[in-house]
Amino acid sequence: MEAGFAVTMEGITKRFGPVVALDEVTLKVRKGTIHALVGENGAGKTTLMKILYGAYPATEGQYQIFEETAKFKNSAEAIQTGIGMVSQHYSIIGELTCLENLMLGAESSWLIPQSASIQLAEKLAAQMGFEFDWGALASGLSPAGAQKLEILKLLWRNSQIMILDEPTAMLTPQDSDALYASLKTLVKQGATVIVVTHRLPEVIEHCDQVTVLRGGKLVANEPVDPGETDLPARLAELIVGRAIAFPELSKREPGERLLTAEKICVRGSRGEISVRAASFSLCAGEIVGLAGVDGSGQRELFAALYGTQPIVSGLVDFLGEQLASTTKERLRNGLKWIPEDRHRQALIEDWTLDDNAALGMHCAPPFAENGHINRAGRRQAASEIASLFATKFGALSDPIASLSGGNQQRFVNARTLFSKPRVILAFQPARGLDIDATRAFYAELSKAVEEGATALVVSFDLDELIQYTDRILVMSLGELYETGQSRNRTEIGKLMVGAA
């Protein structure tokens, strides 16, 4: 381990307007290691990596690559220096072939030598034990295939320093293990790998060194010792900044069944079956958590319940009747949701708080009567919604885009609870919220279910679900599993990754 440093970043500060995303962060990565960068969502991991990759300039601070000072104006310069990055959502363009994706931005010459390129591509693939149909469109690749192609892209560019942002987010456990095996091969050949992740088992099992960020600040940087038994707990504490205390099990007794799904199947965006015969029921008086790795089919399940995606087969019973066919009727009958994507699905950013308050409930009192908008009623409702979770805003007539992400989320959460729903479908309702705000949200949600509603909550943060929900369902590769009242983190974790 006496090799020099591949990356040295010192005193890196990054501000976006008034927001400090990174505060004097230092990161040193030794050559030939797998270095983990961990932290909660919003800790600044991705921002730090984007600075290293030349996508953002740092507000303050400097960095050296292979002990030479660098200052990248754009990603092209970083690529030239030997840095490669695989972003969480991949940068593969579906309409180009695999070979074209492989070369893009790093073509060998003005004229593309077709057969020589394929030969080189084959050679790189063989080196990693991968196989590709080079002439096929990349849109046909599975997530694992895309991840593999991304790694070959780094090799094609002779990247010496490889940054992988949440590389296993969309992968099955087997594929994740295979990925780390490939990364180890690369490291043996002299590459340096930085993995951005929030999955501790991966860090402990596969990485050499770990750096922890919290709230844009460096909190730890140490070698990984797999022998240390309480390492996971200690790292977890470093990440969240406190010991995670698991609360008492809830004493709520579930009441009547409000929504029952029987063997429903839903297709994903590529037409594949993403939800496989899922059956579950939601009863009055309980909050049900839906755990699972991102991309296990939660999105499709929710879309089917919203009515934006058709249910291929199976039945959903809602309040004793078959679920209405249109989104509008479902909303009217008391099925309400907190969608995943605030910007795209939950809010109209150019609109005022007033106008946004009515979205989804705009046909009925107090927002409207007989097709006419009730402006006074709407204003009153908007101010109630804004005050429920103490949303910080200037005026109700300001565009909602002027609110911070966390405040927008409070507004969306409050709006859903305001409508006195029977069933609440919440997708990552605590995203962008701090711990106090999260607690406040779940307190209100509990109040709502105690008054006879029920809730299904998706979160990628298992601890959040363990802490706040009454019962946890697990989704893995489109299959739904019941865990009963189990609070065993390991058991649920195993189900999530399909290892149970």
Binding site: A76, L96, E100, S109
Partner: protein
């Protein structure tokens, strides 16, 4: 037999400007810029060729002026869509308006009343360029670095940027190429007609756009569509008022066929959707 030769010649004459303009549209739309300004770019080129070709008596200078004028308008188009991030439709309409107004102004103000002709090249030279260009473009898109990057930018500018490709630069080059192709097309239109008339492109830019869409934004199918549309026009001129294959087709239906075909193509009845995914994205 004679009729056939007339048909062939006429088809080539009418198709060549369509092909050139369609290829101009192809490079810009494939790079992600919605281009409804082909018409205007050809028109401004036509007036430049007409004026400079007559003033200098040199066909090379005339053509250069046409290409230059269309490229200048393309540059404006690039500034508006890329630097100022205007909506592509609004930019395209503004460029068209400037070209329509500008060409009228230049023609009326600067044409020497005694001018009856201008220095020009023979049509067959343009024909060779028009047939060769789609083949060259096809090779360019499939076999070169520039072509690959152009398609990447047109499909997903954001991801291309991550791969170190600069959408703004690629689109500048693409739009300048559009200017050059439209310049040549405009020069051909005015050469065919022999003199400049107000609005003389008479919708050719939109037919070219139609051919591009019907051809699924691919060079060779777009070439075929242009030839087909050119032939439709020639048949209409040649057999005006006669029954074709025993059916009396009204003139306006005949003239509208390219537009009908485009609507049908956009409705998805002619194969899968091949619209570049990054069309109109920043």
């Amino acid at each position: 037999m004679n009729e056939f030769i007339t048909l062939l010649g006429g088809t080539l004459t009418l198709s060549a400007p369509l092909i050139l303009a369609a290829m101009g549209g192809l490079v810009s739309e494939r790079s992600g810029i919605i281009n409804i300004a082909l018409e205007g770019k050809m028109l401004i080129a036509a007036v430049a060729v007409w004026l400079i070709g007559a003033k200098t008596g040199n066909p090379y200078l005339g053509l250069a002026a046409g290409v230059g004028a269309a490229s200048l308008f393309s540059l404006i188009h690039w500034l508006l869509t890329q630097k100022y991030a205007f909506d592509h439709i609004v930019s395209g309409m503004a460029v068209n308006a400037l070209a329509f107004g500008g060409s009228n102004f230049l023609d009326k103000r600067y044409t020497d009343p005694s001018q009856v002709s201008f220095a020009k090249f023979d049509s067959w030279l343009y024909w060779i360029v028009a047939i060769g260009l789609p083949i060259c473009l096809w090779l360019y898109l499939r076999r070169t670095r520039g072509g690959l990057r152009l398609m990447a930018v047109g499909n997903d500018p954001e991801k291309s940027r991550q791969m170190g490709v600069f959408p703004l630069r690629i689109r500048l080059v693409s739009l300048l190429a559009t200017g050059v192709f439209c310049g040549v097309a405009g020069s051909l239109i005015v050469s065919n007609a022999g003199s400049f008339n107000d609005g003389m492109t008479s919708g050719k830019g939109f037919i070219a756009l139609a051919a591009l869409i019907v051809g699924g934004w691919r060079p060779i199918p777009a070439l075929i569509a242009c030839l087909l549309f050119g032939m439709l026009q020639q048949v209409q001129i040649q057999f005006q008022g006669e029954a074709i294959a025993g059916v009396m087709v009204p003139n306006w239906v005949w003239l509208s066929l390219p537009y009908f075909a485009t609507i049908v193509a956009l409705a998805g009845f002619l194969g899968r959707d091949r619209t570049p995914k990054g069309l109109g994205k920043p």
